[in-house]
């Protein structure tokens, strides 16, 4: 057998073997490689390349080395799940870089981080001013996680003092002009309902690229034909506005009538409606 044929055979065989062995190590996200992962990956790759290029005279020795380099990491990963100590050694610990708004220079030194590195990592997390950062930590994967100061954090409904209604996941009921029966059933709807809604919007099913139903059954459509403007459903807002109008009407009637009985009935109704409007605001408007 010529040498080149042997190289091809070895390469193909090793390709398959490496593929299978790497599976043993298990699924770990490539984007979150720790230093240890990197070392094993390079070692496995190096051995595989050396064996397939005949750099190792004995095929068996090469395969043995490959086996050790895959089985050992696999074992260590298993151990790491069970024991915190092994985890700390293998995966490394996180390093606090900024604490209470102050950069910890000795920790930076420990992590071999230059000030430029730190600044560029902070910028990646949209923290352009060091003064905005309350806490930053270097994860074992080399990524920096940043906690901004409380007054620099993005506004959430809670910090803005707003109550918001719970919202369930919207269901995609039309994809590429075909009806997804399964998601319709999840919402407790059927094809009949969908056809009615499409008719209301005045859109044929074939023209719909994506159709989604929100938690209260409003249908949002995206069409193939982008020149057509589909009106966005406004049922929620309308219902809320009508309630507000009715509440104002009741107050008006209360002012208008001279009968004390009717006056008290109207003002009571106005009060109840005001409560309803208040309570439904998170559900209907936000």
């Amino acid at each position: 057998m010529a040498e080149w044929q042997e190289v091809i055979l070895r390469s193909v065989g090793l390709f398959v073997i490496t593929l299978l062995l790497v599976r043993i190590i298990g699924k770990r996200q490539a984007s979150r490689l720790t230093f240890f992962d990197l070392v094993t990956a390079i070692a496995i790759g190096g051995i595989a390349a050396a064996v397939s290029l005949n750099l190792v005279p004995n095929l068996l020795h090469g395969l043995l080395a490959l086996l050790v380099w895959t089985v050992l990491p696999a074992l260590i990963y298993l151990l790491a799940i069970k024991s915190k100590m092994v985890r700390d050694i293998v995966q490394g610990k996180e390093t606090v870089l900024i604490n209470q708004g102050k950069v910890l220079e000795d920790k930076l030194m420990e992590a071999r981080f230059t000030p430029e590195d730190l600044l560029s990592q902070l910028r990646k997390k949209s923290a352009f001013k060091v003064a905005d950062v309350e806490f930053a930590v270097l994860e074992p994967t080399g990524e920096v996680s940043v906690l901004l100061k409380k007054d620099r954090q993005p506004v959430t409904p809670q910090t803005a003092g707003l109550t918001v209604g719970p919202e369930s996941v919207p269901q995609t009921v039309i994809m590429d002009g075909t009806i997804m029966d399964e998601s319709l059933t999840v919402m407790g709807l059927n094809r009949n309902w969908l056809h009615t809604e499409l008719e209301k919007a005045g859109v044929p099913l074939e023209n719909v690229f994506i159709g989604q139903v929100d938690s209260v059954g409003q249908l949002y459509l995206d069409l193939f034909d982008d020149t057509i403007q589909v009106p966005q459903p406004k049922t929620k807002e309308l219902a809320w506005a009508t309630l507000k109008k009715c509440q104002a009407d009741c107050e008006l009637y209360a002012l208008g009538t001279r009968q004390p009985e009717a006056k008290s009935m109207y003002s009571k109704s106005a009060m109840v409606l005001a409560e309803v409007v208040n309570e439904l605001e998170p559900v209907l408007k936000r």
Partner: protein, 68 residues
């Protein structure tokens, strides 16, 4: 428009909104939102009943405007 006509209109709006809320409550999957909706539908029902009683009195006072 007469007073009874105006009140009737408000009652009709309330009934329509109540129906809309009922359809929301039927489809809504989240229990908390469902509960809020049902609670407020019951309140609206109370208001509608009060107003309908008032409509009846108004119709009695102005029989010439009876009916819709």
């Amino acid at each position: 428009m007469t007073v009874s006509g105006q009140v009737k209109q408000t009652v009709a709006s309330l009934k329509g909104t109540k129906a809309t809320l009922e359809s929301f409550a039927a489809i809504e999957q989240n229990d908390q939102a469902k509960q809020v909706l049902h609670q407020n539908i019951a309140r609206l029902e109370g208001v509608i009943q009060d107003m309908e009683k008032r409509v009846a009195i108004l119709e009695f006072e102005e029989p010439q405007y009876k009916g819709f």
